[in-house]
Symmetry: D2
Subunit: 336 residues, 4 copies
């Protein structure tokens, strides 16, 4: 058993981390930090966990040294906290602060200079499917954004086969914002909405470009679900491409991957990836269609699991040399 | 054409009032008050009205004398504003301030002394189905609460026939709170919820008791919809009662009523009242079942229309001697 | 008053036609045909219309001659019925049968020879915004598909400015299929879904190409809503294009149009077109963004109104020389 | 490891059984029967299980002898199949056929004579919380209905304290019907609905009466969710009752119960039981309120888990003397 703690445990990603770590057979959840909820029971913020833990929230300054420390804090907070964190063999950051390798790109995307550029090189990318070896020895991990993970897993195997300009239509549920409670995110405003919030340009584009070498144009739409991300990627083959070619590329990339399922069915409501059947699961489903000289790649995941807390636990498993699916076996619910 | 203005036009009830008055053939919408949005376009708060009006919000103090003034402000604000309001032939208040005739009951229900007890008697009840005559000459009208309206219309015809103790199970969509934007009303928290918020005792009980003479126990549950109220009322007949007796009671009460539909179908998904088919409509559907010595009465309405803005316009129509359905003809959408 | 009848009144488009025609001040709804429901009350299929009509369904063979006849029947049924229909000054067809001008295109898209190629030329396109003059004298009108209408209105003003290859991401609610009741469309299967049903290639592409001259690649996704279509169109400008240029193109195209609203707001949950505020309305909202040498055009509408029954009534109004908004004034609900 | 098989594996309860048994550490899922889907992959019907099993459906006649056999077939099919089933140490039936002990009650409720009255006595009630001992040695188990389970767990501890007449307001998601695909259950018809389907009298009343001795009047409403049951029970205390009394009764009944959580919070969106946080979980949450001489008891569960497949697995665990939570540890998702 190793000792795990979380900084930033009051939000949705934090809640999912707690859930997953409580169910992990080789992890003892030691402390969960939240200055705002310090001293309150964890299940007061995460009512699904009633009966599963008696832990209370710890003030951030009281987090002890531990084996693995997860940071589930807002963007820019991770970098600011870095010098103050307790010792940990492994630090897994779920914010955007250390995802981009190039500080200039960071500045272009986020509009401010990188707050800790000298530390970027310490972080490995938290996407085992594209860089498992680096994770085996990493001491710092930066988990990619939820849409970025979906788009990267959809596009990486195709990157050598398509023209570099790719269009990505990304859809996300309302939990993606981390639990905002403003007017626009109130139930009456958001229920049933199809809210285009990023018609031309989304911050995750740079992450996708970094991982795939492609030049991505992403449109983001908030849909009526609470959880889930789906990306529909439109690419143009460099040379004529058949369904068989595309399937072969995905199989080569993902055969043996425990969490990427290549979905290729002829019929049925779920013949293309749909986050509806992935809630709570660490799977990323990938599918595709080829027609008239175009390839459409589709991916879906649960933004709080494979797009967040689950990916973080998967990285821990890789780093420790444990079976990669440990604590991540939940397959999702159908129907739901 | 008469001149109508609204105090409190930025909320959901206010928005519906604007929509209805813009479409009313004998009303000119003169001013819409909101201190917070003063000077901004009305369609910035109510985007469905783009292209339907160029009005901007007026500061509350700048509201002119007019023919009819609607108050769509929070509870207790109406009473506080009363001395400062401009002259109007008719004042229609949508808050709870003047619904209860007895200031002691008000104090028991709301926990504070009535803020303007001496003015209560000026107000007629804004429920034409139960008191049309008083409305014909009224100068002040207090529109009942949305759940109260549904429960009163379901129960009033049965009151002489049943034991006075009645249980009411009320369900309401998320727009009922007037557009709260706290965490509990954020989309991730509210979507798909069945939130019992008033397990034993709801403020509308006193209104229902006042109108029907029954002693009501109401449970309130927030459901996943945005709009709509449904009440399921459980009563015990004083003497054996058949379906025919109940139907007769409803027919006697509501034959000729333009907005109350007695729903009595043998089959189909909508054989009992469901707010799903009432969105935007001023109808209140009423239905019932009799079995094993019990009668169950069911009513449904759109909380922002028949449970708010539509009822207010209906009262105006009655007061003016206009056809009661003027500006209220929209039948609701199916499916939706 | 003119006399209107409907063939195919039991489906969702038929129901909306009935609703709109009952509320139309210059139309008397004469007969509504349905062989399956012959003799049953119309409100048994369309419960929102209880109290608004006592009509019953008429067998198809008993439909009389009338002034305007609407066909709301499945694809291919319109063409088959054509020789058997009663006389009508104006026939408005809502099926796909007479939308494509070229029978060869029809055969390529639908996989069968056109069933009545010789009659195609009789039909004017039921999209007043692009061909009002032809409608003024038309005797036969073919209303475009719901996604086609949205995409055409988004793209037509841009067509001269952009490269011909355009990608369209179309999203549609569950009422789009006309009310299918198979397993895949059951509530448990469809609720919360993001169902890519046409990843590469949709039948409406040919309609859009015909109207705009563009070469369209459309992806279709079924979203969790009941009503509503949204299209997000990605185009590449031929020459550098600014937001001002695009706005000017839209203004030039749509200034004075009663139903197309060019949405161009800086902020707010509805700064881009969202069908959520359009339920029941005949509006088509159009918006756009320009960035990094790309233009994204977005349109939204209610698939059963502007994408169906409302467009049909709008065509009738044009044909008769009536105010175009007659019977179509409903602005949509907010929130909903 | 024991060998488990399922008869009736194509429906929603069957799918959940497969999911739970695949994740159970002491069970090998041997065969899943479905005549309709014979030979097809299990994940073709339950797409969430892709990658979790390569099993295919087996014809019913080909089900082998096994250690435990689950029947997830429609009502009356269980009784009909009984003589033909293969040997099994334990048979767990999820239909209604053997829930009622008294064949006369069965006939009254279901309108037909009991199809196998002589076998009723072989079955133990599949509700460990009320009869764990009988389950330890049972060879036949009948799992109660989903609403019955919720109502029984809410009411049993109160039964000695309240008058026997109790009103139960039951709400259920759309998966409750077992996956019906008729028109009324299509997404457009069911989305957002509040469909009272049993205004006065529901079949589960007899089960609740049998387990609690109370005389129950249940109203059933279909709500917009896919999963979940909630019951709100209204009872009258025999003698004055305080919140402390009620809490004590629940604690006495459920302290130490692994799956019943007594929810008693002062505030928060989940201070009363809500199925929203229970999806996929085997918990039944129970809460209550006492006011003005009335007690309201509320319970919530996932109809496909604690109200079906999870309860069946829990019974297996009890029967085998295994830890009762084995394979049932999933706590539910928040938010969802």
């Amino acid at each position: 058993m190793i000792r795990a703690s979380i900084v930033g445990g009051s939000g949705y990603i934090g809640g999912e981390l707690i859930r997953l770590l409580l169910g992990h057979p080789r992890v003892e959840l030691h402390q969960v930090g939240s200055d705002r909820l310090r001293g309150k029971r964890i299940d007061s913020a995460h009512p699904n966990l009633r009966g599963h833990t008696d832990l209370t929230f710890t003030g951030r300054a009281d987090i002890d040294a531990c084996d693995v420390l997860f940071l589930a804090v807002p963007h820019r907070t991770s970098a600011a906290l870095l010098p103050t964190l307790p010792d940990a063999d492994l630090l897994v950051d779920l914010s955007a602060d250390f995802r981009l390798r190039d500080p200039d790109t960071y500045q272009r995307v986020y509009g401010v200079p990188h707050p800790a550029a000298g530390r970027i090189a310490d972080f490995a990318a938290g996407l085992p499917e594209l860089g498992r070896d680096a994770l085996r020895t990493a001491t710092r991990v930066a988990v990619p954004g939820c849409m970025a993970t979906a788009a990267i897993l959809a596009l990486a195997p195709l990157a050598p086969l398509v023209e570099p300009e790719v269009t990505v239509d990304a859809r996300t549920g309302s939990s993606g914002s981390g639990g905002s409670d403003g007017f626009a995110d109130s139930h009456p405003q958001r229920s049933g909405a199809l809210r285009v919030f990023a018609p031309a340009g989304h911050r995750h584009e740079a992450e996708i470009a970094q991982a795939t070498g492609l030049s991505v144009r992403m449109t983001g739409t908030g849909v009526a679900a609470v959880r889930g991300v789906q990306v529909v990627c439109h690419a143009t083959p460099r040379a004529p491409l058949s369904e068989v070619d595309v399937r072969r590329a995905y199989r080569a990339a993902y055969d043996g991957e425990p969490f990427v399922r290549v979905v290729a069915h002829r019929r049925g409501a779920f013949r293309y990836p749909d986050p509806k059947i992935l809630l709570g699961s660490n799977h990323c489903d990938v599918g595709f269609a080829v027609a008239d000289g175009r390839v459409t790649a589709i991916a879906a995941l649960d933004n709080l699991v494979k797009g967040g807390a689950g990916a973080a636990v998967q990285c821990l498993n890789v780093r420790r040399g444990w079976p990669e699916t440990l604590g991540l076996e939940f397959p999702g619910l159908h129907p739901c």
